[in-house]
Symmetry: C2
Subunit: 289 residues, 2 copies
C-alpha cells in the first residue's frame, strides 16, 4: 500500500466505509486513525478493530498520517482541518484529500492552506453515497466499482495526484481526472439535478394526496429514492454548486415547458420523439433492453 | 381456483408473466389459452408447457374461457376483442379484464360491448411493469406483492368484481378498488408523472453531454430507470390519460419554478424546508432511514 498511516476525519456513511474498506483491503497492515465529534462511533470502530486509533482531538489523529481524508459536510471541512494546521500537526509531505460532492469551492478553500503547511491537497469525489447516512450503513464494499472523480488543479503536485488516484483504485474505484470546474458541471447533470427533481416529483405527486404512493410500483420508488437523503447535506451541496445547478434546472424547466405543450396540443409525434431520444441516451449508458 | 379456463391475450411482459404465474400457481390445473399476433412466443409457451392452447385466432382462444385477460397496449384492446364478440365466442357469463395503465378510456370502450355479448367487464391494473418488455422478461414472480387496482363502475356486477379481485390476490397481489377516474388521477401521480420526469432528467442531463453519466452513481441510474421503457407504449399512455397527466405536470412545472427562485435568491431556509418536506412525505411511504 502507498500509505502507511491514514487519518479519516468523521466516521459517517463515507468516512466509516473508508475506515472499514482500508482495514479490510490492507488486512490490517495500514494504520487507520479516526477523528469524530462524538465518542460513540469512534468506540464502535475501535471495538471492531477497524480503527487503530480514534479520538475527538483532530491534531492527535492527524499526527504522523501520510494521508488525511476529509469526509464531513463540505462547509465543515476547513474548520475541522484548522486545528491540525494550527498545531503544526500535518506531517511534512502529507497528502490531504476529501470526498465532497462539490469541488470548486472545496479545492479553493483547502489547497492554499494545506500547501502552506507543507502538505499537498488533491480533491476527490467517490460517487458512492446513497440516501442513507451514518456509520450504521457504512460498509467496506461501498467503493467497489464506484466512479471516483479526482480534481487536480494547474498547481497540483503530479506525484500527489497519482498517489490519490492509486488510493481510490486500490479501494476498487474506477477513477477519472477532471478540473474542479468540469467536475461541478458534470455532477450538476448526473447527481444534483436528479436529486432536486426527485424531491420535486415527491411534492408534485404526494403533497395533496400523501397516501397515493401506497399503490406505487418500483418506478415511483426508484425515481424518488434519493429524495430520502439528508436535507441539511443536500441544501449545502445545492447552494455550494449553485451556478451549475441553476443552469441545469433552468434547462430542465424549459424542457418541461416543451413537454407541457406536447401534451396540451396532443403532439403525438413530438412526444414520441422526445421519449425515444431519452430512452436512446439512457440506453447508451446502461445498455439496451 | 375460481376459474378453470383462462385466456390471455398477447404474451408480452405482463401477459407472458400471467401465463407463467397461472400455470405455476394452479400447478397446471387451470387451462391457460394464449392469443398472440406472432407464432414464435406462442410456440415458446407451448414448449415450456405453460400454455395449454395457443393460437393467432382470437375467437378460438376465447372459446369456453371463463376469464379473458387483455394484456396488449390500450389502443389495441377493442380491436383485438372485436372478432371474439363478432364470432359469438364469448362464453355466457365470462369475465373480461385487462392490465392497462389507464382505466377511464379502457372501461368506457369495453364495458358496454362485453355486457351486450353476455359477459362482464371489470378493469384491472397490476402495478407490475418495468422498463423491460416482451416475453423474454416475463416471470411467474412478477405479481408477487405488487399492488393491483381494480376499477369497478356503478354498473359493474358485484360478483364479477369479487372474482376479478380474488384472481389477482390468488396471484399474490395486494388489491384495492377505486373508480376508473380516481385510478387515472392516482396513477398520474405515482406512475405517469414520474415517467415523464425521468425522460426530462435524461434530456436535461445528457443532451449536451452524452457521456457525463458514465461517472454516475446509483442515484442517476435509479432516478431515470423508467425512461428506458418502450416509447410507443408510453406515448399512448400519456395521451390516453392526458388531462390528469397535464394537471400533474403543470403543478410540477410550477414547483420547479419555485425551486429555481430558491436557488437564484439563495433562500437556504426555503430550500431546506422543501427538501425536508419531500423526504418526510417519501419516508411516510417507504419508512424512515
Amino acid at each position: 500500500m502507498l500509505f502507511s498511516r491514514i487519518a479519516i476525519f468523521s466516521p459517517g456513511l463515507l468516512g466509516g466505509s473508508l475506515v472499514r474498506a482500508i482495514h479490510r483491503q490492507s488486512a490490517g497492515s495500514v494504520e487507520v486513525r479516526v477523528w469524530g465529534r462524538r465518542e460513540e462511533p469512534l468506540q464502535c470502530l475501535r471495538d471492531e478493530g477497524a480503527a487503530t486509533f480514534a479520538s475527538t482531538n483532530a491534531a492527535e489523529v492527524a499526527d504522523g498520517a501520510d494521508l488525511i481524508v476529509l469526509a464531513m459536510t463540505i462547509g465543515a471541512m476547513r474548520a475541522t482541518l484548522e486545528p491540525v494546521l494550527a498545531a503544526g500537526a500535518l506531517a511534512p509531505g502529507a497528502i490531504v484529500t476529501d470526498v465532497g460532492s462539490v469541488k470548486g469551492s472545496v479545492v479553493a478553500a483547502l489547497e492554499a492552506p494545506v500547501t502552506a503547511a507543507g502538505g499537498y491537497f488533491v480533491g476527490s469525489h467517490p460517487m458512492a453515497g446513497s440516501e442513507q447516512k451514518g456509520l450504521d450503513h457504512a460498509t467496506a464494499d461501498l467503493f467497489t466499482d464506484a466512479a471516483c472523480l479526482i480534481t487536480p488543479t494547474t498547481t497540483s503536485d503530479p506525484g500527489a495526484v497519482d498517489r490519490v488516484e492509486d488510493f481510490w483504485r486500490w479501494l476498487g474505484c474506477r477513477t477519472a481526472r477532471m478540473s474542479p470546474e468540469r467536475h461541478d458541471e458534470t455532477v450538476s447533470r448526473i447527481s444534483h439535478l436528479p436529486h432536486v427533481v426527485a424531491s420535486l416529483v415527491v411534492e408534485a405527486a404526494l403533497r395533496e394526496s400523501p397516501d397515493a404512493a401506497i399503490y406505487a410500483g418500483g418506478g415511483f420508488r426508484d425515481t424518488t429514492r434519493v429524495a430520502s437523503g439528508p436535507p441539511e447535506m443536500w441544501t449545502e451541496i445545492l447552494l455550494e454548486n449553485r451556478d451549475a445547478v441553476l443552469a441545469r434546472l433552468e434547462q430542465f424547466h424549459a424542457l418541461t415547458g416543451e413537454m407541457l405543450a406536447f401534451l396540451r396540443d396532443r403532439r403525438e409525434e413530438d412526444l414520441h420523439r422526445f421519449l425515444s431520444g431519452a430512452k436512446e441516451r439512457r440506453d447508451h449508458i446502461y445498455g439496451r433492453r
